[in-house]
Protein backbone atom coordinates (compact mmCIF):
# COMPACT_ATOMS: atom_id res chain seq x y z
CA UNK A 1 0.00 0.00 0.00
CA UNK A 2 0.95 3.57 -0.56
CA UNK A 3 2.53 6.11 1.70
CA UNK A 4 -0.02 8.23 3.48
CA UNK A 5 -2.59 5.51 3.87
CA UNK A 6 -4.09 4.41 7.16
CA UNK A 7 -5.86 1.13 7.57
CA UNK A 8 -7.70 0.03 10.69
CA UNK A 9 -8.66 -3.59 11.09
CA UNK A 10 -11.16 -4.42 13.84
CA UNK A 11 -9.68 -1.85 16.18
CA UNK A 12 -11.06 -1.85 19.72
CA UNK A 13 -10.16 0.12 22.78
CA UNK A 14 -11.25 -0.50 26.33
CA UNK A 15 -10.05 1.36 29.40
CA UNK A 16 -11.71 -0.75 32.06
CA UNK A 17 -11.87 -4.12 30.25
CA UNK A 18 -15.66 -4.04 30.47
CA UNK A 19 -16.90 -1.28 28.23
CA UNK A 20 -15.57 -0.24 24.88
CA UNK A 21 -14.41 3.28 24.08
CA UNK A 22 -14.02 2.16 20.48
CA UNK A 23 -15.46 -1.08 19.23
CA UNK A 24 -14.48 -3.21 16.24
CA UNK A 25 -13.70 -0.41 13.85
CA UNK A 26 -12.39 -1.07 10.38
CA UNK A 27 -11.69 1.54 7.75
CA UNK A 28 -9.33 2.23 4.86
CA UNK A 29 -8.17 5.81 4.59
CA UNK A 30 -6.65 6.59 1.21
CA UNK A 31 -3.55 8.72 0.67
CA UNK A 32 -4.49 12.37 0.15
CA UNK A 33 -7.95 11.88 1.58
CA UNK A 34 -9.64 14.29 3.97
CA UNK A 35 -11.26 11.91 6.40
CA UNK A 36 -13.50 13.21 9.17
CA UNK A 37 -14.36 11.40 12.40
CA UNK A 38 -17.57 12.89 13.68
CA UNK A 39 -19.88 12.17 16.59
CA UNK A 40 -21.16 13.58 19.86
CA UNK A 41 -18.77 13.97 22.79
CA UNK A 42 -17.76 10.70 24.35
CA UNK A 43 -18.30 8.71 21.16
CA UNK A 44 -14.68 7.60 20.92
CA UNK A 45 -13.58 9.75 18.01
CA UNK A 46 -10.68 11.34 19.86
CA UNK A 47 -9.64 7.97 21.25
CA UNK A 48 -9.54 6.61 17.73
CA UNK A 49 -7.40 9.52 16.54
CA UNK A 50 -5.05 9.04 19.47
CA UNK A 51 -4.72 5.38 18.64
CA UNK A 52 -3.79 6.31 15.09
CA UNK A 53 -1.25 8.76 16.51
CA UNK A 54 0.11 6.08 18.83
CA UNK A 55 -0.63 8.09 21.96
CA UNK A 56 -3.09 5.47 23.09
CA UNK A 57 -2.53 1.74 23.12
CA UNK A 58 -4.78 -0.46 21.04
CA UNK A 59 -6.67 -3.09 23.03
CA UNK A 60 -7.40 -5.32 20.05
CA UNK A 61 -7.09 -5.14 16.29
CA UNK A 62 -4.45 -4.08 13.84
CA UNK A 63 -3.40 -0.74 12.46
CA UNK A 64 -1.45 -0.20 9.26
CA UNK A 65 0.16 3.14 8.47
CA UNK A 66 1.86 3.71 5.12
CA UNK A 67 0.97 0.11 4.39
CA UNK A 68 3.01 -1.28 7.28
CA UNK A 69 1.79 -2.69 10.55
CA UNK A 70 2.12 0.05 13.14
CA UNK A 71 0.69 -1.51 16.29
CA UNK A 72 3.98 -1.14 18.13
CA UNK A 73 5.40 1.89 16.35
CA UNK A 74 5.99 4.87 18.66
CA UNK A 75 4.32 8.16 17.63
CA UNK A 76 7.54 9.71 16.39
CA UNK A 77 8.13 6.86 13.92
CA UNK A 78 4.67 6.95 12.38
CA UNK A 79 5.56 9.99 10.29
CA UNK A 80 2.50 11.95 11.29
CA UNK A 81 1.91 15.47 12.45
CA UNK A 82 -0.79 16.41 14.91
CA UNK A 83 -2.74 19.54 15.75
CA UNK A 84 -4.33 19.61 19.17
CA UNK A 85 -7.52 21.23 20.35
CA UNK A 86 -5.70 23.71 22.60
CA UNK A 87 -2.87 24.00 20.04
CA UNK A 88 -0.17 22.65 22.41
CA UNK A 89 2.24 25.48 21.68
CA UNK A 90 5.32 25.68 23.88
CA UNK A 91 4.68 28.84 25.93
CA UNK A 92 8.35 29.65 26.51
CA UNK A 93 9.29 29.58 22.82
CA UNK A 94 8.64 32.18 20.13
CA UNK A 95 6.42 31.43 17.16
CA UNK A 96 9.46 30.65 15.05
CA UNK A 97 10.98 28.34 17.65
CA UNK A 98 7.65 26.63 18.08
CA UNK A 99 7.37 25.98 14.37
CA UNK A 100 10.94 24.74 14.06
CA UNK A 101 10.94 22.71 17.27
CA UNK A 102 10.32 19.37 15.60
CA UNK A 103 12.76 20.05 12.77
CA UNK A 104 15.52 20.86 15.26
CA UNK A 105 14.88 17.59 17.05
CA UNK A 106 15.14 15.75 13.75
CA UNK A 107 18.33 17.68 12.96
CA UNK A 108 17.13 19.13 9.68
CA UNK A 109 19.84 21.48 8.26
CA UNK A 110 19.49 25.12 9.38
CA UNK A 111 19.02 26.46 5.85
CA UNK A 112 16.26 23.98 5.12
CA UNK A 113 14.60 24.84 8.46
CA UNK A 114 14.49 28.50 7.59
CA UNK A 115 13.14 27.89 4.11
CA UNK A 116 10.36 25.61 5.38
CA UNK A 117 9.47 28.00 8.17
CA UNK A 118 9.17 30.97 5.82
CA UNK A 119 7.20 28.92 3.33
CA UNK A 120 4.71 27.78 5.96
CA UNK A 121 4.31 31.12 7.68
CA UNK A 122 3.93 32.81 4.31
CA UNK A 123 1.20 30.35 3.38
CA UNK A 124 -0.62 31.06 6.65
CA UNK A 125 0.09 34.80 6.79
CA UNK A 126 2.08 34.59 10.00
CA UNK A 127 5.45 35.98 8.84
CA UNK A 128 5.22 39.17 10.88
CA UNK A 129 4.60 37.31 14.13
CA UNK A 130 7.67 35.07 14.06
CA UNK A 131 9.35 36.71 17.06
CA UNK A 132 6.29 36.76 19.28
CA UNK A 133 5.47 34.43 22.13
CA UNK A 134 2.24 32.39 21.92
CA UNK A 135 0.62 34.36 24.73
CA UNK A 136 0.91 37.52 22.65
CA UNK A 137 -1.23 36.01 19.89
CA UNK A 138 -4.97 35.74 19.44
CA UNK A 139 -6.73 32.38 19.30
CA UNK A 140 -6.84 32.35 15.52
CA UNK A 141 -3.16 33.21 15.27
CA UNK A 142 -2.19 30.46 17.70
CA UNK A 143 -4.23 28.09 15.61
CA UNK A 144 -2.23 29.12 12.56
CA UNK A 145 1.04 28.53 14.39
CA UNK A 146 -0.14 25.04 15.24
CA UNK A 147 -1.02 24.50 11.58
CA UNK A 148 2.34 25.86 10.46
CA UNK A 149 4.03 23.41 12.78
CA UNK A 150 2.18 20.58 11.10
CA UNK A 151 3.01 21.96 7.65
CA UNK A 152 6.77 22.29 8.16
CA UNK A 153 7.01 18.76 9.49
CA UNK A 154 6.25 17.61 5.91
CA UNK A 155 4.65 14.46 7.23
CA UNK A 156 2.38 12.62 4.82
CA UNK A 157 -0.39 12.27 7.40
CA UNK A 158 -1.83 15.04 9.54
CA UNK A 159 -4.13 14.38 12.49
CA UNK A 160 -6.34 17.12 13.88
CA UNK A 161 -8.28 16.89 17.11
CA UNK A 162 -11.12 19.44 17.13
CA UNK A 163 -8.77 22.23 16.08
CA UNK A 164 -11.48 24.83 15.60
CA UNK A 165 -13.57 24.38 18.72
CA UNK A 166 -11.81 27.19 20.62
CA UNK A 167 -12.46 29.78 17.92
CA UNK A 168 -15.43 32.07 17.45
CA UNK A 169 -18.00 31.25 14.79
CA UNK A 170 -16.76 33.64 12.13
CA UNK A 171 -13.14 32.60 12.43
CA UNK A 172 -14.19 28.97 12.45
CA UNK A 173 -15.84 29.38 9.08
CA UNK A 174 -12.71 31.00 7.69
CA UNK A 175 -10.29 28.42 9.11
CA UNK A 176 -12.49 25.63 7.77
CA UNK A 177 -11.83 26.77 4.23
CA UNK A 178 -8.17 27.43 4.95
CA UNK A 179 -7.50 24.00 6.39
CA UNK A 180 -9.27 22.35 3.50
CA UNK A 181 -7.28 24.38 0.95
CA UNK A 182 -4.05 23.69 2.80
CA UNK A 183 -4.70 19.97 2.76
CA UNK A 184 -5.41 20.01 -0.95
CA UNK A 185 -2.35 22.11 -1.71
CA UNK A 186 -0.05 19.83 0.24
CA UNK A 187 -1.79 16.68 -0.91
CA UNK A 188 -1.47 15.08 2.51
CA UNK A 189 -3.81 12.66 4.19
CA UNK A 190 -5.89 14.42 6.80
CA UNK A 191 -7.71 12.72 9.63
CA UNK A 192 -9.89 15.26 11.33
CA UNK A 193 -11.92 14.88 14.50
CA UNK A 194 -14.92 17.10 15.14
CA UNK A 195 -18.26 17.10 16.90
CA UNK A 196 -19.57 19.68 14.48
CA UNK A 197 -21.54 18.16 11.65
CA UNK A 198 -21.11 21.33 9.57
CA UNK A 199 -17.33 20.84 9.60
CA UNK A 200 -17.78 17.21 8.70
CA UNK A 201 -20.11 18.02 5.83
CA UNK A 202 -18.08 20.87 4.36
CA UNK A 203 -14.51 19.66 4.82
CA UNK A 204 -14.47 15.91 4.45
CA UNK A 205 -13.98 13.75 1.39
CA UNK A 206 -15.45 11.00 3.50
CA UNK A 207 -16.57 10.78 7.06
CA UNK A 208 -17.19 8.26 9.75
CA UNK A 209 -20.10 8.83 12.11
CA UNK A 210 -19.54 7.38 15.57
CA UNK A 211 -21.75 6.82 18.55
CA UNK A 212 -20.78 5.14 21.82
CA UNK A 213 -17.61 3.80 20.25
CA UNK A 214 -19.42 2.13 17.41
CA UNK A 215 -19.27 3.09 13.77
CA UNK A 216 -22.70 4.15 12.53
CA UNK A 217 -21.83 4.91 8.94
CA UNK A 218 -18.84 5.62 6.71
CA UNK A 219 -19.23 7.45 3.45
CA UNK A 220 -19.19 10.64 1.46
CA UNK A 221 -20.91 13.54 3.23
CA UNK A 222 -23.74 13.83 0.70
CA UNK A 223 -24.38 10.09 0.60
CA UNK A 224 -24.64 10.10 4.38
CA UNK A 225 -26.92 13.10 4.29
CA UNK A 226 -29.16 11.62 1.64
CA UNK A 227 -29.13 8.06 2.86
CA UNK A 228 -28.52 7.96 6.59
CA UNK A 229 -27.98 4.40 7.72
CA UNK A 230 -30.02 4.81 10.87
CA UNK A 231 -31.99 7.24 12.97
CA UNK A 232 -28.92 8.41 14.89
CA UNK A 233 -27.08 9.45 11.73
CA UNK A 234 -30.24 11.06 10.36
CA UNK A 235 -30.52 13.06 13.53
CA UNK A 236 -26.87 13.95 13.88
CA UNK A 237 -26.12 15.05 10.34
CA UNK A 238 -28.09 18.06 9.19
CA UNK A 239 -29.25 21.12 11.10
CA UNK A 240 -31.91 21.34 12.31
CA UNK A 241 -31.99 17.55 12.69
CA UNK A 242 -34.32 15.32 10.75
CA UNK A 243 -37.90 15.15 12.03
CA UNK A 244 -38.62 11.63 13.14
CA UNK A 245 -42.04 10.40 14.12
CA UNK A 246 -43.56 7.08 14.96
CA UNK A 247 -45.86 5.87 12.22
CA UNK A 248 -48.56 3.26 12.33
CA UNK A 249 -48.91 0.59 9.71
CA UNK A 250 -52.61 0.16 9.09
CA UNK A 251 -54.35 -3.13 8.60
CA UNK A 252 -54.68 -2.44 4.92
CA UNK A 253 -50.90 -2.09 4.62
CA UNK A 254 -50.81 1.67 4.47
CA UNK A 255 -48.83 3.97 6.72
CA UNK A 256 -50.47 6.64 8.77
CA UNK A 257 -48.96 9.52 10.72
CA UNK A 258 -51.15 10.82 13.48
CA UNK A 259 -54.49 10.61 11.73
CA UNK A 260 -53.25 12.30 8.60
CA UNK A 261 -53.47 11.07 5.05
CA UNK A 262 -52.15 7.56 4.87
CA UNK A 263 -49.31 6.52 2.60
CA UNK A 264 -49.44 3.42 0.50
CA UNK A 265 -46.59 1.08 1.28
CA UNK A 266 -44.69 -1.28 -0.96
CA UNK A 267 -45.78 -4.89 -0.63
CA UNK A 268 -42.77 -6.01 1.44
CA UNK A 269 -43.51 -3.50 4.17
CA UNK A 270 -46.28 -5.30 5.97
CA UNK A 271 -46.25 -5.92 9.69
CA UNK A 272 -43.45 -3.62 10.60
CA UNK A 273 -43.20 -0.97 13.23
CA UNK A 274 -41.72 2.04 11.52
CA UNK A 275 -40.34 5.48 12.19
CA UNK A 276 -40.80 8.08 9.53
CA UNK A 277 -38.29 10.89 8.97
CA UNK A 278 -38.38 14.07 6.94
CA UNK A 279 -35.66 16.70 6.75
CA UNK A 280 -36.77 20.23 7.75
CA UNK A 281 -35.70 21.61 4.37
CA UNK A 282 -37.92 19.15 2.52
CA UNK A 283 -41.09 20.49 4.04
CA UNK A 284 -42.95 22.98 1.83
CA UNK A 285 -45.80 25.30 2.67
CA UNK A 286 -47.34 25.33 -0.78
CA UNK A 287 -48.48 22.56 -3.02
CA UNK A 288 -46.27 22.14 -6.07
CA UNK A 289 -45.96 19.61 -8.85
CA UNK A 290 -43.33 17.80 -6.86
CA UNK A 291 -45.31 17.33 -3.68
CA UNK A 292 -47.59 14.37 -3.36
CA UNK A 293 -48.37 14.14 0.33
CA UNK A 294 -49.77 16.61 2.79
CA UNK A 295 -50.17 16.87 6.52
CA UNK A 296 -52.24 19.17 8.63
CA UNK A 297 -50.22 20.70 11.48
CA UNK A 298 -50.49 23.21 14.30
CA UNK A 299 -47.81 25.92 14.45
CA UNK A 300 -46.10 26.27 17.83
CA UNK A 301 -43.17 28.64 17.25
CA UNK A 302 -41.92 30.82 14.42
CA UNK A 303 -38.30 31.99 14.18
CA UNK A 304 -37.71 34.41 11.34
CA UNK A 305 -33.98 34.57 10.56
CA UNK A 306 -34.24 36.98 7.66
CA UNK A 307 -33.26 34.77 4.75
CA UNK A 308 -35.23 31.83 6.06
CA UNK A 309 -37.87 30.97 8.60
CA UNK A 310 -37.75 28.14 11.12
CA UNK A 311 -41.20 26.82 11.90
CA UNK A 312 -41.90 24.43 14.72
CA UNK A 313 -45.22 22.66 14.67
CA UNK A 314 -47.03 19.82 16.30
CA UNK A 315 -47.55 16.66 14.33
CA UNK A 316 -49.60 14.57 16.67
CA UNK A 317 -47.47 14.32 19.80
CA UNK A 318 -44.11 15.12 18.25
CA UNK A 319 -42.65 18.47 17.28
CA UNK A 320 -41.35 18.92 13.76
CA UNK A 321 -39.20 21.67 12.42
CA UNK A 322 -39.31 23.09 8.94
CA UNK A 323 -36.78 25.35 7.26
CA UNK A 324 -38.54 27.55 4.73
CA UNK A 325 -36.71 30.09 2.57
CA UNK A 326 -38.00 33.64 2.93
CA UNK A 327 -39.88 35.37 5.70
CA UNK A 328 -43.14 33.83 6.85
CA UNK A 329 -45.52 35.17 9.41
CA UNK A 330 -47.67 32.76 11.36
CA UNK A 331 -49.54 32.96 14.62
CA UNK A 332 -48.95 30.50 17.37
CA UNK A 333 -51.64 27.83 17.33
CA UNK A 334 -52.54 28.44 13.72
CA UNK A 335 -53.38 25.31 11.75
CA UNK A 336 -51.84 24.92 8.35
CA UNK A 337 -50.98 22.28 5.80
CA UNK A 338 -47.49 21.18 4.90
CA UNK A 339 -46.54 19.51 1.63
CA UNK A 340 -43.91 16.84 1.18
CA UNK A 341 -42.55 14.87 -1.72
CA UNK A 342 -42.76 11.19 -0.88
CA UNK A 343 -39.27 10.58 -2.19
CA UNK A 344 -37.93 12.67 0.68
CA UNK A 345 -39.46 10.40 3.25
CA UNK A 346 -37.04 8.18 5.17
CA UNK A 347 -38.31 5.05 6.86
CA UNK A 348 -36.51 3.42 9.77
CA UNK A 349 -37.11 0.15 11.55
CA UNK A 350 -39.06 1.02 14.69
CA UNK A 351 -37.03 -1.30 16.89
CA UNK A 352 -33.45 -1.10 15.61
CA UNK A 353 -33.57 2.39 14.13
CA UNK A 354 -31.90 1.08 10.96
CA UNK A 355 -32.88 2.46 7.60
CA UNK A 356 -35.24 0.08 5.84
CA UNK A 357 -34.10 -1.50 2.58
CA UNK A 358 -35.37 -0.22 -0.76
CA UNK A 359 -37.92 -2.99 -1.09
CA UNK A 360 -39.66 -1.60 1.96
CA UNK A 361 -41.01 1.89 1.74
CA UNK A 362 -43.56 4.25 0.44
CA UNK A 363 -45.05 3.67 -2.98
CA UNK A 364 -44.37 6.66 -5.16
CA UNK A 365 -45.69 8.18 -8.28
CA UNK A 366 -43.68 7.01 -11.26
CA UNK A 367 -42.57 10.58 -12.00
CA UNK A 368 -41.14 11.03 -8.55
CA UNK A 369 -39.05 7.87 -8.84
CA UNK A 370 -37.66 9.08 -12.14
CA UNK A 371 -36.60 12.43 -10.80
CA UNK A 372 -35.46 11.06 -7.49
CA UNK A 373 -31.83 10.29 -8.11
CA UNK A 374 -31.06 11.12 -4.53
CA UNK A 375 -32.99 8.27 -2.93
Amino acid sequence: MEEGSVKLKHISKSYDKQTFAVKETSVDIQPGEFFVLVGPSGCGKSTMLRMIAGLEEITAGEIYIHGKSANDTPPSRRRISMVFQNYALYPHLTVEENILFGLKVRKVPKKEQLRLCLEATDMLGMTEFLKRKPRELSGGQRQRVALARAVVSQMPICLMDEPLSNLDAKLRGQMRTEIRQLQQKLGITMIYVTHDQVEAMTMGDRMMVLKDGEVQQIGKPLDIYNNPANEFVANFIGAPPMNITEAEVQRDGSLRVHHNNSLTLLPASSNMKMHLGVRPEHILLTKTQETDWELSVKISTVEILGNETLLTFEVGETLWKAKIPGQWHYEKGQVTTIHINKQHIHLFDGRTGKMLPESVGVARKPAAVQGGASI
Binding site: L55, P75, F84, Q85, N86, H92, V105, R106, R135
Partner: protein
Protein backbone atom coordinates in the same frame (compact mmCIF):
# COMPACT_ATOMS: atom_id res chain seq x y z
CA UNK B 1 -5.63 58.97 51.95
CA UNK B 2 -5.93 58.71 55.71
CA UNK B 3 -6.33 54.96 55.46
CA UNK B 4 -3.22 54.76 53.36
CA UNK B 5 -1.26 56.79 55.88
CA UNK B 6 -2.27 54.54 58.74
CA UNK B 7 -1.46 51.51 56.63
CA UNK B 8 2.00 52.78 55.79
CA UNK B 9 2.64 53.75 59.39
CA UNK B 10 1.75 50.26 60.55
CA UNK B 11 3.82 48.63 57.85
CA UNK B 12 6.80 50.81 58.68
CA UNK B 13 6.47 49.94 62.34
CA UNK B 14 6.23 46.23 61.57
CA UNK B 15 9.23 46.43 59.25
CA UNK B 16 11.19 48.25 61.93
CA UNK B 17 10.39 45.58 64.53
CA UNK B 18 11.34 42.86 62.04
CA UNK B 19 14.61 44.44 61.04
CA UNK B 20 15.66 45.75 64.41
CA UNK B 21 17.95 42.83 65.33
CA UNK B 22 19.77 43.04 62.03
CA UNK B 23 20.00 46.81 62.15
CA UNK B 24 21.29 46.65 65.69
CA UNK B 25 23.81 43.99 64.70
CA UNK B 26 24.90 46.25 61.86
CA UNK B 27 25.27 49.15 64.25
CA UNK B 28 27.14 47.10 66.87
CA UNK B 29 29.59 45.84 64.27
CA UNK B 30 30.93 49.39 63.98
CA UNK B 31 31.16 50.03 67.75
CA UNK B 32 34.06 49.87 70.12
CA UNK B 33 33.80 47.68 73.24
CA UNK B 34 33.08 50.72 75.35
CA UNK B 35 30.10 51.66 73.19
CA UNK B 36 28.69 48.16 73.45
CA UNK B 37 29.12 48.01 77.22
CA UNK B 38 27.36 51.32 77.63
CA UNK B 39 24.50 49.89 75.52
CA UNK B 40 24.46 52.61 72.93
CA UNK B 41 22.18 52.31 69.96
CA UNK B 42 24.56 54.00 67.54
CA UNK B 43 28.36 53.94 67.57
CA UNK B 44 29.89 57.14 69.03
CA UNK B 45 32.86 56.91 66.69
CA UNK B 46 32.26 54.35 63.92
CA UNK B 47 35.23 52.06 63.42
CA UNK B 48 36.14 49.27 61.04
CA UNK B 49 38.35 47.59 63.63
CA UNK B 50 35.88 44.78 64.22
CA UNK B 51 35.89 43.83 60.55
CA UNK B 52 39.69 43.90 60.45
CA UNK B 53 39.88 41.79 63.57
CA UNK B 54 37.38 39.23 62.39
CA UNK B 55 39.34 38.70 59.18
CA UNK B 56 42.54 38.25 61.17
CA UNK B 57 41.36 36.23 64.15
CA UNK B 58 39.46 33.44 62.32
CA UNK B 59 39.74 32.25 58.70
CA UNK B 60 36.34 33.76 57.96
CA UNK B 61 36.95 34.01 54.21
CA UNK B 62 37.85 30.32 54.17
CA UNK B 63 34.61 29.54 56.00
CA UNK B 64 32.62 31.71 53.59
CA UNK B 65 34.20 29.87 50.69
CA UNK B 66 33.30 26.54 52.25
CA UNK B 67 29.75 27.63 52.87
CA UNK B 68 29.47 28.86 49.34
CA UNK B 69 30.75 25.58 47.89
CA UNK B 70 28.51 23.52 50.15
CA UNK B 71 25.36 25.59 49.61
CA UNK B 72 25.78 25.79 45.83
CA UNK B 73 26.56 22.11 45.42
CA UNK B 74 23.72 21.03 47.68
CA UNK B 75 21.30 23.37 45.88
CA UNK B 76 22.34 22.22 42.44
CA UNK B 77 22.23 18.56 43.42
CA UNK B 78 18.89 19.01 45.07
CA UNK B 79 17.43 20.76 42.03
CA UNK B 80 18.63 18.02 39.70
CA UNK B 81 17.52 15.10 41.85
CA UNK B 82 14.18 16.66 42.82
CA UNK B 83 13.43 17.68 39.24
CA UNK B 84 14.13 14.23 37.83
CA UNK B 85 12.07 12.56 40.55
CA UNK B 86 9.26 15.07 40.06
CA UNK B 87 9.32 14.48 36.32
CA UNK B 88 8.82 10.76 36.83
CA UNK B 89 6.00 11.37 39.28
CA UNK B 90 4.31 13.83 36.95
CA UNK B 91 4.76 12.24 33.54
CA UNK B 92 5.85 8.62 33.50
CA UNK B 93 3.06 6.30 34.57
CA UNK B 94 4.02 3.08 36.32
CA UNK B 95 2.25 0.68 38.57
CA UNK B 96 1.98 1.96 42.13
CA UNK B 97 3.20 5.43 41.23
CA UNK B 98 0.70 7.07 43.54
CA UNK B 99 1.72 4.83 46.44
CA UNK B 100 5.42 5.49 45.91
CA UNK B 101 4.73 9.19 45.71
CA UNK B 102 2.76 9.17 48.95
CA UNK B 103 5.54 7.22 50.64
CA UNK B 104 8.00 9.77 49.32
CA UNK B 105 5.92 12.68 50.58
CA UNK B 106 5.31 11.04 53.95
CA UNK B 107 9.03 11.42 54.69
CA UNK B 108 8.18 15.09 55.18
CA UNK B 109 6.60 13.99 58.46
CA UNK B 110 9.93 12.75 59.82
CA UNK B 111 12.00 15.56 61.31
CA UNK B 112 15.53 15.81 60.05
CA UNK B 113 16.84 15.61 63.61
CA UNK B 114 15.33 12.15 64.02
CA UNK B 115 17.40 10.78 61.18
CA UNK B 116 20.51 12.62 62.22
CA UNK B 117 22.16 9.85 64.21
CA UNK B 118 21.72 7.08 61.61
CA UNK B 119 22.87 9.53 58.95
CA UNK B 120 25.90 10.36 61.02
CA UNK B 121 26.85 6.69 61.32
CA UNK B 122 26.41 6.22 57.59
CA UNK B 123 28.64 9.18 56.82
CA UNK B 124 31.19 7.99 59.31
CA UNK B 125 31.38 4.47 57.94
CA UNK B 126 31.67 5.87 54.42
CA UNK B 127 34.69 7.80 55.63
CA UNK B 128 33.20 11.11 54.61
CA UNK B 129 34.00 12.99 57.79
CA UNK B 130 35.57 16.37 57.09
CA UNK B 131 34.55 16.07 53.48
CA UNK B 132 32.28 18.17 51.27
CA UNK B 133 30.40 14.98 50.40
CA UNK B 134 29.08 14.71 53.95
CA UNK B 135 27.79 18.27 53.83
CA UNK B 136 26.08 18.07 50.44
CA UNK B 137 24.93 14.59 49.41
CA UNK B 138 22.51 13.96 52.31
CA UNK B 139 20.52 16.98 51.11
CA UNK B 140 20.17 16.00 47.47
CA UNK B 141 16.95 14.03 47.77
CA UNK B 142 14.42 16.44 49.19
CA UNK B 143 10.79 15.39 49.47
CA UNK B 144 9.66 18.99 49.69
CA UNK B 145 11.49 19.93 46.51
CA UNK B 146 10.13 16.95 44.65
CA UNK B 147 6.64 17.79 45.78
CA UNK B 148 6.91 21.45 44.83
CA UNK B 149 8.28 20.71 41.38
CA UNK B 150 5.86 17.88 40.72
CA UNK B 151 2.93 20.17 41.46
CA UNK B 152 4.25 22.66 38.94
CA UNK B 153 5.08 19.98 36.37
CA UNK B 154 1.50 18.76 36.70
CA UNK B 155 0.31 22.05 35.26
CA UNK B 156 2.20 21.39 32.03
CA UNK B 157 -0.63 20.51 29.63
CA UNK B 158 -0.73 16.85 28.70
CA UNK B 159 -0.96 17.93 25.06
CA UNK B 160 2.54 19.40 25.23
CA UNK B 161 3.85 16.00 26.27
CA UNK B 162 1.92 14.34 23.48
CA UNK B 163 2.97 16.93 20.92
CA UNK B 164 6.57 16.32 21.96
CA UNK B 165 6.07 12.58 21.53
CA UNK B 166 4.71 13.08 18.03
CA UNK B 167 7.64 15.34 17.18
CA UNK B 168 10.03 12.65 18.28
CA UNK B 169 11.41 14.02 21.54
CA UNK B 170 12.71 11.51 24.02
CA UNK B 171 11.48 11.81 27.59
CA UNK B 172 14.73 13.41 28.62
CA UNK B 173 14.63 15.92 25.77
CA UNK B 174 11.08 16.80 26.74
CA UNK B 175 12.27 17.25 30.31
CA UNK B 176 15.02 19.74 29.61
CA UNK B 177 13.61 21.43 26.52
CA UNK B 178 10.04 21.92 27.65
CA UNK B 179 9.42 21.12 31.30
CA UNK B 180 12.43 22.88 32.82
CA UNK B 181 11.84 26.19 31.01
CA UNK B 182 8.12 25.88 31.71
CA UNK B 183 8.64 25.54 35.45
CA UNK B 184 11.49 28.04 35.73
CA UNK B 185 9.77 29.97 38.52
CA UNK B 186 9.58 26.91 40.73
CA UNK B 187 13.23 26.18 40.10
CA UNK B 188 14.18 29.66 41.25
CA UNK B 189 11.97 29.38 44.34
CA UNK B 190 13.32 25.99 45.25
CA UNK B 191 16.87 27.08 44.48
CA UNK B 192 16.67 30.04 46.85
CA UNK B 193 15.01 27.93 49.50
CA UNK B 194 17.68 25.24 49.18
CA UNK B 195 20.55 27.69 49.19
CA UNK B 196 19.34 29.54 52.28
CA UNK B 197 18.61 26.32 54.16
CA UNK B 198 22.03 24.84 53.52
CA UNK B 199 23.75 28.16 54.09
CA UNK B 200 22.13 28.48 57.51
CA UNK B 201 22.72 24.86 58.53
CA UNK B 202 24.44 24.59 61.89
CA UNK B 203 24.02 21.26 63.68
CA UNK B 204 24.92 18.90 60.85
CA UNK B 205 28.14 20.62 59.77
CA UNK B 206 29.11 20.77 63.42
CA UNK B 207 28.67 16.99 63.66
CA UNK B 208 30.51 15.95 60.54
CA UNK B 209 33.45 18.34 60.73
CA UNK B 210 36.24 18.13 63.24
CA UNK B 211 38.66 20.62 61.73
CA UNK B 212 38.60 23.74 59.60
CA UNK B 213 39.08 22.19 56.14
CA UNK B 214 35.42 22.08 55.11
CA UNK B 215 33.81 23.82 58.08
CA UNK B 216 31.09 26.30 57.16
CA UNK B 217 30.69 29.87 58.22
CA UNK B 218 27.90 29.30 60.75
CA UNK B 219 30.28 27.26 62.89
CA UNK B 220 32.94 29.82 62.26
CA UNK B 221 30.66 32.41 63.82
CA UNK B 222 30.26 30.28 66.88
CA UNK B 223 34.01 30.22 67.20
CA UNK B 224 34.04 34.00 67.55
CA UNK B 225 32.03 33.68 70.70
CA UNK B 226 34.47 33.02 73.51
CA UNK B 227 33.46 30.42 76.05
CA UNK B 228 35.49 31.51 79.04
CA UNK B 229 36.36 35.17 78.67
CA UNK B 230 33.93 37.96 77.79
CA UNK B 231 32.78 37.84 74.18
CA UNK B 232 33.71 40.71 71.93
CA UNK B 233 30.25 41.31 70.51
CA UNK B 234 31.44 43.87 68.01
CA UNK B 235 33.61 41.16 66.48
CA UNK B 236 30.75 38.64 66.40
CA UNK B 237 28.38 41.11 64.79
CA UNK B 238 30.92 42.06 62.16
CA UNK B 239 31.11 38.33 61.33
CA UNK B 240 27.32 38.08 61.23
CA UNK B 241 27.07 40.97 58.80
CA UNK B 242 29.67 39.36 56.55
CA UNK B 243 27.64 36.14 56.56
CA UNK B 244 24.34 37.84 55.84
CA UNK B 245 25.55 39.77 52.80
CA UNK B 246 25.64 36.83 50.32
CA UNK B 247 22.15 35.71 51.28
CA UNK B 248 20.80 39.23 50.84
CA UNK B 249 22.37 39.46 47.40
CA UNK B 250 20.83 36.12 46.47
CA UNK B 251 17.38 37.19 47.66
CA UNK B 252 17.55 40.47 45.78
CA UNK B 253 18.59 38.74 42.56
CA UNK B 254 16.09 35.93 42.97
CA UNK B 255 13.20 38.19 43.79
CA UNK B 256 13.49 39.88 40.42
CA UNK B 257 13.30 36.50 38.73
CA UNK B 258 10.38 35.48 40.92
CA UNK B 259 8.42 38.61 40.14
CA UNK B 260 9.09 38.13 36.45
CA UNK B 261 7.74 34.63 36.68
CA UNK B 262 4.68 35.65 38.61
CA UNK B 263 3.82 38.50 36.26
CA UNK B 264 4.19 36.14 33.31
CA UNK B 265 1.53 33.85 34.68
CA UNK B 266 -0.79 36.73 35.48
CA UNK B 267 -0.99 38.09 31.96
CA UNK B 268 -1.61 34.72 30.36
Amino acid sequence: MKRKMILYALLTLAAFVMFFPIMYAFSVSFMTSEDILSRRLLPSSPTLDNYRDVLVSVPILHYLMNSFIVASTATLGMLIVSALAAFIFAFIPFKGRQAVFLLFISTLLIPWEATMIPNFFTIQSLGWMNNYLALTIPFFALAFGTFLLRQHFKTVPQELYEAAQVEGLSNFQFFYKVVVPYAKTSFVTLGIFGFLTTWNMYLWPLLVTTNDTVRTVQIGLRRLQADEVATNWGLVMAGVILVIIPTLILLAAGQKQLQKGLAKGAIK
